[in-house]
Amino acid sequence: MTTQPAATTGGAAVDVGGVAAQRGPSDAKAARRERLAVLAHSKTFIAGSVILGIWIFCAIFGYVIAPYDPLKTDPINALLAPSSSHLFGTDTLGRDVFSRVIVGARDILIVAPLATLLGTVLGTALGLITGYFRGPVDDILSRIIDTFLAVPVVIVGLLALVALGPSKLTVIIVIGIVFTPVIARTVRAAVLSERDLEYVAAARLRNEKTRYILFAEILPNVLGPVIVEFTVRLGYAIFTIATLSFLGFGIQPPAPDWGLQIFEHYGLISGGYWWPVVFPALAIASLVVGVNLVSDGLSQAFER
């Protein structure tokens, strides 16, 4: 077994004397090793992992490391500017913003991944089915997916939460379902290029059950795009949940949620009290950026 050195010349097609050229793909083992090497050397991936790692740490040990009880009100010390005793200042009820930002990571890092996971599981199943069967099944499901995609996520989420009543569980279910079509579409595209490979035909020639072909044979081969899609959607989920909380339909008070904190204080910005809004906003931004950096790193690694 020999390894043809992988052409690292950017795109596959290059030009020599006016004729486009093409190099063969490297073998799968080298690709996997290379994928890890790409990740290990990817500044994007490393930076993203560090940011994400910090927030995960806060989510787990938030109550331990927070200097104050995030729920304890202290009206006398309300709206103190950031200082050495209150790094990020205090809010209208005198709660420590720094502690609330740290502890606030927990809810969003539970709700967002669970919602994304739900969407990924449903979307992957749907994508496998539509991509594998093609024909009428695909046509009908794809049109339904298109319809779903035409309506803004936040609007659908709002309507559903109004109907179901806001709670962490309903947020997870609603976001999960809203994300399903998008993920299904990505998985479907990956399945389309797998279903015509001969290992699928070989499985059919053993009269394997369709369920086995879909989930045991094809699924492991489309896991790359599924993982990338999961991380991309996770970024969106964080943002969507924060938006819903801001609108009052997500995580409910008095939880130290970031979106909720912004909602509770954004009216005070004009009065110069910027800290109860800006710090949670930065927290959301940094988490979304971190997740997206990880996602970019992963997709670069899987692209090869």
Binding site: M1, T3, A7, G18, A21, Q22, E198, N207, E217
Partner: protein
């Protein structure tokens, strides 16, 4: 073929060779270590000369071509030696100078024309772009592009200009790529496996074209191929590359007839040549594997696999001292200490044919097809991919299936297997029992009895599964084995396909192509099948591996009495393995008969043309019959005999009006032709005259 017309070049360039490599060393950096991939390669291509480079994949053929242009991937570097391109020292030049020189002097043509062309740009614009790069104005560029397309024998250049690559066939695309390559009037044209993905007839056509253009343009060729037949047809001189070292070099005829390096001897023995058949002898192979990339090889690079060294007991000399290039006169040279004895290289495989199970011609056919039809419905059109195919396969027999791509070979295989549902009225019988037309409705033992080995083991084996899981799963679903009985059956199976059980935990990507194909064969044999469809099982493999796989298939047939439906475009391979051969054209059986019968006149005019296109390592022994144009579309098959639009033996109106029936012209020999068999026998003594009515159907190339 030899002695091409010289080009009009300046006197200084006239004398310099088109390309000269001197002791070229190339390294690739893989996982942080620089590894030698070319070891002091030297050769020279004179003006107007055609030079062939052969060797197994991974020997450095393509690297040599890229290095010759100083065009290596980013992890590659030239670490020694010199490159002289048309009198210019490439190593001494700056990147920009090299780029400018490349535009003027060299072009390259690659294996896959589909990916060499931009799918979203019209053919005309792509070809014209080459002229524009050379500073020609827009209108003139378009004009010259059209002219160039005419030169590559495009039947209607003006119309082709307006098309996109996906609207043309592979052969036409490759002609477009060649047109682009020749547009800059290069002094050197590098062709890297230009016909590997193409059909035998298209390959013949493309090679004829390149030969014709070489005479016309006086271009020098560097021709890279693993197909010795193609090299024999195209080249004046050739070099044999092994592990980055040129082990033998000389005039093509000389090397073929009098090879002086054991590797060349071995390669030549691997291919089924001169009509050799499975019941006459086994094919020889080359034992072992290519050394790893950049391995330290102080002695002869081939020593590890050399049977001659072992026979002579010369390990010390062969592994310790690098043999020099022994000059044998007439430019023939070989890097072997014992080149005089090279041809006494002991065979790896004894030539005695594999024992065969006695096949009873009168037994109930194991597989019988009658009236098999398949119609695809595309955008309202009915495409008749198969029309009334019928044949019977005796137990333990091999039926070869040949025809151009688009002739319905694969559709027939998929229909028989139940992967594609046949039309109503089609009959497929296994052991005399009718089979359901879709696999899901077939019984367990019927599913087991009919299996397939696919062309490409890379996509036929699930890359996420271990070899153990792949084979074990087949044993579980096909014959319901589990636990210890399954393990022992698995070991037996691995043993019978000569697969090392120690590799059973590996993933497909960790194995070589030959080993992967053995796994695919083991999987097909898991349920003791009666019929195995082999769909181009060796065309993705190197010749030495191909020989081993063919031997294995023949041996398994002898042991288990399985019948094969063997699909291949390599006619030498089909002739080697088949007992009978069926020739398919546009989904219709044109000829069916014993393997030897089909290969000799009288034969169907289509078969005649198909065989004449084959490039063999012995040199062309029959005059080439050119099939005009592309295979017609199955959506609108020609009236009467479907082959009449391209038939070299076209009779007249009857061919256009009536479809000839498939008749038994001799015992066991069926043919679908209006010409009586005795007349065919007489007229096929000489090549066909040009068709008088050719002007009447210029549209034969229509899609």
């Amino acid at each position: 073929m030899t002695g091409a017309a010289p080009t009009e070049t300046s006197p200084q360039q006239e004398t310099a060779p088109a390309l000269e490599l001197n002791d070229l060393e190339v390294e690739y950096r893989v996982r942080g270590i620089w590894r030698r991939v070319l070891r002091g390669v030297s050769f020279e291509i004179a003006q107007g000369e055609s030079y062939g480079l052969v060797g197994e994949s991974g020997c450095g053929k393509s690297t040599a071509a890229f290095a010759a242009l100083r065009y290596l991937p980013r992890n590659g570097r030239v670490s020694g030696g010199s490159i002289n391109l048309g009198g210019h020292d490439l190593i001494a030049m700056t990147g920009e100078e090299v780029r400018k020189l490349r535009i003027k002097t060299v072009s390259m043509v690659y294996q896959n024309p589909g990916s060499a062309l931009n799918p979203s740009i019209k053919i005309g614009d792509q070809v014209a772009e080459v002229y524009r790069l050379m500073g020609v104005g827009d209108d003139e560029a378009t004009e010259r592009a059209q002219e160039m397309l005419g030169k590559v024998r495009m039947s209607d250049p003006a119309r082709v200009m307006e098309r996109y690559p996906h609207q043309l066939s592979g052969g036409m695309n490759q002609r477009v790529v060649i047109a682009m390559a020749l547009a800059s009037d290069p002094t050197l044209l590098i062709l890297d496996e230009p016909t590997t993905g193409l059909d035998a007839t298209v390959e013949g056509e493309v090679l004829d074209l390149v030969n014709g253009l070489r005479a016309e343009f006086g271009t020098s060729l560097l021709f890279i191929s693993h197909n010795l037949g193609v090299i024999g047809k195209m080249c004046d001189r050739m070099g044999v590359l092994y592990a980055g070292r040129l082990v033998e070099e000389g005039r093509v005829q000389e090397v073929f007839e009098n090879p002086r390096h054991p590797y060349t001897v071995g390669l030549l023995r691997c291919i089924p040549r001169g009509g050799v058949r499975k019941d006459q002898q086994r094919l020889d192979t080359i034992a072992g594997f290519l050394p790893g990339l950049g391995a330290e090889l102080p002695g002869c690079v081939f020593a590890d696999r050399c049977g001659l060294m072992k026979a002579l007991g010369s390990e010390e000399r062969c592994q310790g001292t690098e043999p020099p290039m022994h000059e044998l006169g007439g430019g023939h040279g070989a890097r072997c200490h014992f080149h005089e004895q090279a041809q006494t290289l002991p065979r790896v495989i004894e030539p005695v044919p594999a024992p065969r199970a006695a096949s009873d011609k009168n037994a109930v056919p194991v597989l019988r097809a009658e009236n098999v039809r398949k119609t695809f419905h595309q955008e309202g059109h009915a495409v008749h991919a198969l029309a009334d195919v019928e044949f019977a396969l005796a137990p333990g027999e091999t039926l070869g299936l040949v025809g151009e791509s688009g002739s319905g070979k694969t559709t027939l295989a998929r229909t028989l297997l139940g992967l594609t549902e046949a039309d109503e009225g089609s009959v497929v019988e296994l052991d005399g029992t009718p089979l359901a037309s879709v696999i899901a409705k077939r019984k367990g033992e019927q599913v087991r009895a009919l299996q397939i080995v696919f062309q490409n083991p890379d996509s036929a084996l699930n890359r996420r599964f271990s070899i153990h899981r792949i084979i074990a799963r087949a044993l579980t679903t096909l014959i319901g084995l589990s636990g210890e009985p399954r393990e022992s059956r698995l070991r037996e199976l691995a043993h019978s396909v000569r697969f090392d059980v120690r590799l059973i935990g590996a993933r497909p990507a960790q194995l070589s192509g030959g080993l992967k194909q053995r796994v695919a064969i083991a999987r097909a044999f898991a349920g003791d099948p009666q019929v195995v469809v082999c769909d181009e099982p060796t065309s993705a493999l190197d010749v030495s591996v191909q020989a081993a796989i063919l031997n294995l298939l023949v041996e398994l047939q002898g042991e288990k009495g399985v019948a094969y439906l063997f699909i291949s475009h390599d006619l030498g391979v089909v002739r080697y393995v088949s007992d009978r051969i069926a020739v398919l054209y546009l989904g219709r059986l044109m000829e069916l008969g014993g393997a030897e019968t089909v290969f000799e006149p009288p034969q169907h005019p289509y078969t005649e043309a198909l065989l004449s296109a084959v490039a063999t390592a012995e040199g062309a022994e029959r005059p080439r019959i050119r099939l005009e144009g592309e295979i017609p579309s199955a959506a609108e098959p020609p009236s009467g005999c479907v082959f009449h639009t391209r038939c070299p033996r076209y009779l007249g109106a009857i061919c256009e009006e009536q479809e000839p029936p498939l008749e038994e012209v001799e015992p066991g020999h069926f043919m679908r032709c209006h010409i009586p068999v005795d007349e065919l026998r007489t007229i096929q003594q000489s090549p066909p005259p040009p068709r008088p009515d050719r002007a009447r159907s210029p549209d034969a190339a229509a899609q």
